[in-house]
């Protein structure tokens, strides 16, 4: 019989170095996913404890106690009270920051009362020693009745020792820290017997948190709630008394085991850094310089690897075309699947760069200061101090930006940020903007200095930003949640980032995108490929011949005929049909069926608009901007006899692309981050409606 893998959970408060310990124990053997039902990163990994024992390590969200403050933290209470649950640990490691033990031990005393076999890992012992603190370790072990290990998760000191203790037997501590009062004891006993629980405290937790323990069937939760009510069990009152009692125990304990306490001198450096970074003028300047650096790097530096990926996949398609025999199956591979995969891989540089910055900001402790600086302003708009980084990143690309919203603890704030981020003009809109702006806006200079075209371009970015802020404001009043928003947050002392943590974070986020959102992106891109390449069979197969016979007398060069064939095929494909069906709907916006086709195909990604326009007007290469511009300039609107792309049409299109979702990858990532299709579909509907109505207003007013 194969023994079930030993399950070890890592628990502790935020900033206690839990993630560093997790990375030390598991290295690259990590798996990420979500805890069932919630979007909380679930990090698991395997670790070889000794010759015989392999353990599965589960990294739980950082929390101060079993009582959750955010939806994410609910996971912790669930994991520790659901004995039949998939994640119920055999052993627990409580990671504590040795420089500030008091707050770390609160959760520990709760684990003791739950009778969970726990090992206390004192992290950052180097810092504690430097601050002059010394602890009587033996006494601490005896008082807590559990193994205590000193570690330094940054350089790996003590990790082997921790592993060997975890490989051996660990008994639950025999201490009982919290004693419930007389009145509730009977009730607790009743719940404990009914659910067959191992400790009184677990029964007490059932009574405290019946709403949060979703693993319990509904009728059981109802039963607990009713029993609590009948027996005058006052959750909040007891919870307050419990915390005070626990801190009393902790204070007594620390008084006995701390032989010399630290002086606060080592925090001096951190405090003087704070004076600069949270300065009322300097603080903002520094923050915006950092934001600009992030923005610049995902916008500009990522372009180099992205171009490389782009040309590699284009090259691969051409190569496969030469190698493969003809036929729809092979074309699906070379023109549908390969470019589809390319469309996923292309996001990796931006994701990697953004998360490198974000994890550095978090590792150093600066992220907490960003929240501190921005909270007051952002809260007015229903956002959170932490929304700033995703929103700004949205100017480069909404995909990594939306992934970055996981740093926002409050679910409502996170949802609003996810919802409005795609309104920020991302870099994929730029090719559409530049070609249309160059086409319809005259190349004047205002005051001999500002280019007219540049001003319009800036106006479009501003328009998206304003729409994002106003939408956030509207949602602030529309979404009702029970969860109250708090900003009771630790401002950790500044630290140098640990580079391996940064690297692992990049790998983790990239994997999450490729394997989770990637599936949806690939599926949609294959559907769009089929729509644009296939149509009623007879028309399509005769395309080549039809075009050749039509143009016979013209003696066109072969490349031009090829272009005309492609244009003819696209026109008669299902996407082309769809464009024609759409024509009556988009006519009030000033568009015709050709633009309609471009709207359909550019649902894959906005920049596809340019390529489709190039094909439909049989321009040949989409790379040459001035050729496309020339061609579009001469395009005639048959109804008016004037040019097709007038100022009202062009502005209407620009406004449409500023607001419209038009990006399947964004939909895919929103689906991943919100756990389901509800929010991406609401978002798609909202943005499309906003785009349609605004484009309609622009065209009708100007025309």
């Amino acid at each position: 019989m194969a023994a079930a893998k030993l399950k070890i959970a890592l628990a502790g408060k935020p900033n206690s170095g839990k993630s560093s310990l997790f990375n030390q124990l598991t290295g690259l053997n990590q798996k990420i996913g979500n805890f069932p039902g919630v979007t909380v990163d679930k990090r698991t990994g395997s670790c070889q404890l000794d010759d015989k024992t392999i353990a599965e390590i589960i990294d739980l969200p950082g929390t101060y106690s079993l009582y959750p403050r955010t939806l994410d933290e609910k996971v912790v209470a669930e994991v520790f009270t659901d004995q039949r649950g998939k994640f119920y640990p055999d052993k627990v490691v409580l990671v504590a920051d040795a420089t500030n033990l008091k707050n770390c031990l609160l959760l520990l005393t709760q684990l003791i009362d739950l009778r969970l076999p726990t090992v206390l890992a004192l992290n950052m012992v180097d810092l504690a020693a430097r601050s002059g603190q010394s602890i009587d370790l033996k006494k601490l072990e005896k008082k807590l009745d559990m193994p205590v290990v000193m570690i330094n998760a940054r350089n790996g000191t003590g990790i082997e020792n921790l592993k060997s203790i975890l490989a051996g037997p660990v008994k639950p501590s025999s201490r009982v820290v919290y004693q419930s009062d007389e009145e509730s004891r009977v009730l607790i006993g009743k719940i404990r017997t009914k659910f067959n629980l191992t400790s009184d405290y677990e029964a007490y937790q059932f009574l405290q948190q019946s709403d949060n323990l979703v693993f319990l069937p509904k009728h059981d939760r109802e039963f607990i709630r009713q029993s609590a009510k009948d027996n005058n069990f006052f959750a909040h009152k007891y919870q307050g008394a419990e915390t005070i009692m626990r801190y009393g125990f902790i204070q007594d304990l620390l008084n006995e085991v701390i032989m010399r306490s630290s002086d606060e001198g080592w925090k001096k450096v951190s405090h003087s850094i704070d004076r600069v970074l949270t300065h009322k003028v300097g603080g903002y300047i520094i923050f915006f310089v950092i934001l600009f650096l992030i923005f610049q790097s995902i916008f500009a530096w990522a372009q180099i690897p992205m171009d490389f990926i782009d040309s590699t996949f284009a090259h691969l398609t051409t190569r496969l075309d030469q190698v493969f025999p003809k036929g729809p199956f092979f074309e699906l591979i070379s023109h549908g699947i390969i470019p589809g995969i390319g469309g996923i891989v292309i996001f990796i540089p931006q994701i990697a760069i953004l998360f490198a910055f974000i994890s550095i900001l978090e590792e150093t402790g600066y992220m907490a200061r960003v929240v501190f600086l921005m909270d007051k302003i952002m809260r007015k708009f229903g956002l959170n101090g932490k929304s700033v980084v995703p929103l700004m990143s949205g100017w480069a690309c909404a995909i990594p930006a939306i992934m970055a919203t996981r740093t926002i603890d409050n679910w409502k704030d996170r949802l609003i940020t996810i919802f409005v981020t795609p309104l920020m003009s991302c870099s994929a809109r730029l090719p559409v903007y530049t070609i249309l702006v160059a086409l319809i806006i005259p190349d004047y200079k205002v005051l001999g200095f500002f280019s007219y075209q540049g001003l319009v371009l800036m106006g479009l970015y501003l328009l998206g930003f304003v729409a994002a802020i106003l939408s956030a404001l509207a949602m602030k009043f529309l979404i009702k949640v029970k969860e109250r928003s708090y900003l009771i947050m630790e401002l950790p002392t500044y630290k140098m980032p640990k580079w391996s943590n940064v690297g692992l974070q990049i790998i983790e986020k990239t994997k999450a995108f490729v394997f989770e959102a990637g599936k949806t992106i690939l599926a949609i891109s294959i559907i769009l490929y089929v729509l644009a390449s296939y149509g009623p069979a007879d028309v399509m197969s005769g395309a080549d011949q039809t075009v050749r016979s039509k143009t016979e007398g013209l003696k066109l060069p072969e490349s031009e005929i090829q272009g005309k064939v492609a244009s003819y095929k696209l026109e008669h494909s299902y996407a082309g049909e769809l464009g024609k069906i759409l024509e009556p709907v988009i006519k009030p916006l000033g568009y015709d069926w050709k633009i309609g086709i471009a709207l359909v195909t550019s649902f894959a990604a906005r920049e596809v608009f340019v390529g489709t326009i190039a094909t439909i007007y049989s321009i040949g290469s989409a790379d040459d901007e001035s050729t496309i511009k020339q061609k579009l300039k001469t395009e005639i609107n048959p109804e008016t006899g004037g040019p097709r792309y007038t100022l009202p049409v062009g502005l209407s299109l620009l406004v449409f692309y500023t607001f419209a979702m038009q990006c399947m990858s964004t939909l895919a990532i929103v689906k991943r981050e919100t756990k389901g299709w509800k929010w991406p579909l609401i978002q798609l509907g909202y943005m499309t409606a906003l785009a349609y109505l605004s484009a309609f207003a622009v065209y009708q007013l100007l025309n």
Binding site: Y67, T278, F372, D375, Y486, E490
Partner: protein, 73 residues
């Protein structure tokens, strides 16, 4: 009654109690215990949120949260 929100930069006071039960359980967990000292470090540029030291570490609080912590002085 004075609260943490009324404190000035550099001031230290003793926590005496709370005026909002729901937030109080969170504040207790974070180390705002009646009888312990709290120090007002600095405020964010618009005066809100604020940074305080309590139970050996630095925390940020919104003014509306700070105003629920009563102090003796």
């Amino acid at each position: 009654m004075k609260s943490v929100a009324d404190m000035t930069k550099g001031e230290t006071a003793i926590i005496s109690g709370f005026t909002d039960e729901e937030i109080s359980v969170k504040l207790l967990e974070m180390g705002f215990l009646p009888g312990t000292a709290v120090r007002f470090n600095f405020a964010a540029p618009f005066g809100d949120p604020i940074c305080v030291s309590v139970s050996g570490y630095d925390l940020s609080l919104r003014l509306e949260e700070a105003s629920t912590i009563s102090i003796l002085n």
